[in-house]
Amino acid sequence: MNRIGIIVFAGVCVLFVTSWFLKGSVGDATMTEGFLITLSAFLTLAIMSFLYKDNPYYKFAEHLFVGVSAAFWMTMGFWSTIVGNLIPRISDSLGAWFLQPKGEINYFFLLPIFFGFLLLMRLAPKGGWLSRWPLAFIIGTTAGLNFVRYLRSDFINQISATFVPLVVDWQGFGHFFGNLSLSATGPLVAMVGNFVIFGGVICGLIYFFFSKEHTGWFGTASRIGIWVLMVTFGASFGYTVMGRISLLVGRLTFLLRDWLELMT
């Protein structure tokens, strides 16, 4: 570590301790709460410091996050899957030892234990092939289970959702033009929306149809299709920006309100 690095490190330590002391001794917060708020603020700033450039504080926060996450999910996996879902179903006494509610004993659940051990055989130098059996089971059941669901919800129901009436609440031209409005729930907006869905789906499909050359009216529809796709990607990008800014707002609110107390 060079001299500047040592000075920065000393400055960070002094700031940390000062913040801890001030947060813990002034106001309602205890010293423990003061430490936790200061630590949260330090980790937030450490992660954000990556925007300037890569540095040891960012690395520390990143490694801490990865380590804590791995430990958290491993613990959750043990307590919720093995203890929560499995043990009460194979042994009353073991379930009681883990303070689990009594479940219906079903020795069929010994099979997942066996498959679990087979999965771990991947670590064995000569028994690696055994792990393929539970993997095949997992992939097979997942594919089978999802196939039916996706076919129904993401294929048939989605196709059905594009069968929309192009003319909504039609009671003649007089009625239509007499009650013309741009209300979001009015017939005009509904009709335009339904036309966009109908035309957008057809043109989008044409863009992905490569068995015919994209020239003439087919080419025009294909170009409209790519515009529809671009608008969709644009909407996704806009929403993503909104999501990321929301997260920034959340962190800045924490720093400005909970840590620095500049906001009420």
């Binding site: 879902n85 979001a184 909104m242 800014i245 929301s246 997260l247 707002v249």
Partner: protein, 303 residues
């Protein structure tokens, strides 16, 4: 006034960048970060808010809560973690408040292990202070988290007890009053999935909504909202997309229920910085394109 000052300062900065870029000076990415920081932090400090009207897709969720008869059973699934909380927690809070205000009974659960902690936030900020008379087990119950992702949904669509033999406090299923008439998800009047990851709303639609014919409403993080719009209105009755959707809902809820005029509205509060930040981002996109096309024309003239 505050908006004008902030936009004025940012505008002058952007103009300076534009002129500098025209002279051939490269804009460092860190300058853009500083602009975004100012655009977000300044409105937070001066508390800029805007008015919102609900869009039909948000209004549909509100109307569903209103149309359900008092005493209906609604399941809330907290399928999110602290990382998504700034966007999604305001939705969870306002939807829970609305459901309890209408006298509905609520079953809370989560497909994310971290969802239990997020439910505690709602409990602390909404249920305990605003509805202290509502009894755990009778008016609402938290059955917590179960590992298994869509496997959990595949079971509870036909049998709750099989997957949740107790609530989160270890109270047996059979002695929880709210479950007297609820044996599976098919007996529910409405499911509200709040989240933005996997497992989440898509799994609820695929494994419960469509096969069980149960109405599903949702509040989601903005990142996944565009992927879920195709499910509206047939497979989802309504959707709160990102903090904007939450702000629309909060605004409409306050309008319909004036007694909540002073309630916390974090989503409306967050839309101030959102709006200013979006203006800055759009300005950067316009400036970047202008510089690109002007530079290309200049190159063409030189050639």
């Amino acid at each position: 006034m505050a908006v004008a000052i902030i936009l004025g300062v940012l505008g002058i900065g952007l103009l300076w960048l534009f002129i500098g870029a025209l002279k051939g000076r490269e804009v460092d990415r860190r300058v853009i970060f500083v602009f975004i920081l100012v655009a977000v932090a300044a409105p937070l400090l001066v508390n800029i808010t805007f008015k919102f009207e609900p869009t039909p897709i948000v209004q549909a969720v509100f109307d569903e809560f209103e149309s359900l008869p008092e005493g209906s059973t609604v399941l809330f699934s907290y399928d999110f973690d602290p990382a998504m909380a700034p966007e999604v927690q305001p939705m969870a809070n306002v939807l829970t408040r609305h459901a309890l205000e209408r006298g509905h009974k609520i079953i809370f659960m989560c497909l994310f292990a971290t969802g239990e902690g997020q439910f505690n936030v709602t409990d602390r900020e909404v249920i305990q202070p605003e509805f202290p008379d509502r009894v755990n087990g009778v008016d609402w119950v938290n059955i917590g988290y179960k590992a298994g992702n869509e496997g959990v949904l595949n079971v509870i669509v036909t049998d709750f007890k099989k997957m949740f033999p107790t609530d989160v406090n270890g109270v047996p299923y059979d002695s929880i009053k709210i479950f007297d008439k609820i044996k599976s998800c098919k007996d529910l009047d409405l499911i509200v999935s709040i989240g933005g990851g996997r497992p989440g709303i898509k799994e609820w639609v695929l494994f419960v909504g469509d096969p069980g014919n149960v109405p599903i409403a949702t509040g989601v993080a903005a990142v996944v909202a565009p992927q879920l719009y195709p499910y509206y209105p047939k497979q989802l009755i309504g959707l709160l997309g990102g903090v904007k959707g939450a702000a629309e809902y909060e605004s409409h809820f306050k309008k319909v229920y004036p007694k909540y005029a002073d309630m916390a509205t974090p989503a409306i509060f967050m839309m101030g910085p959102q709006t200013i930040a979006h203006i800055v981002i759009m300005a950067f996109i316009v400036i970047g394109n202008l510089i690109f096309f002007l530079g290309r024309r200049k190159e063409g003239e030189e050639a």
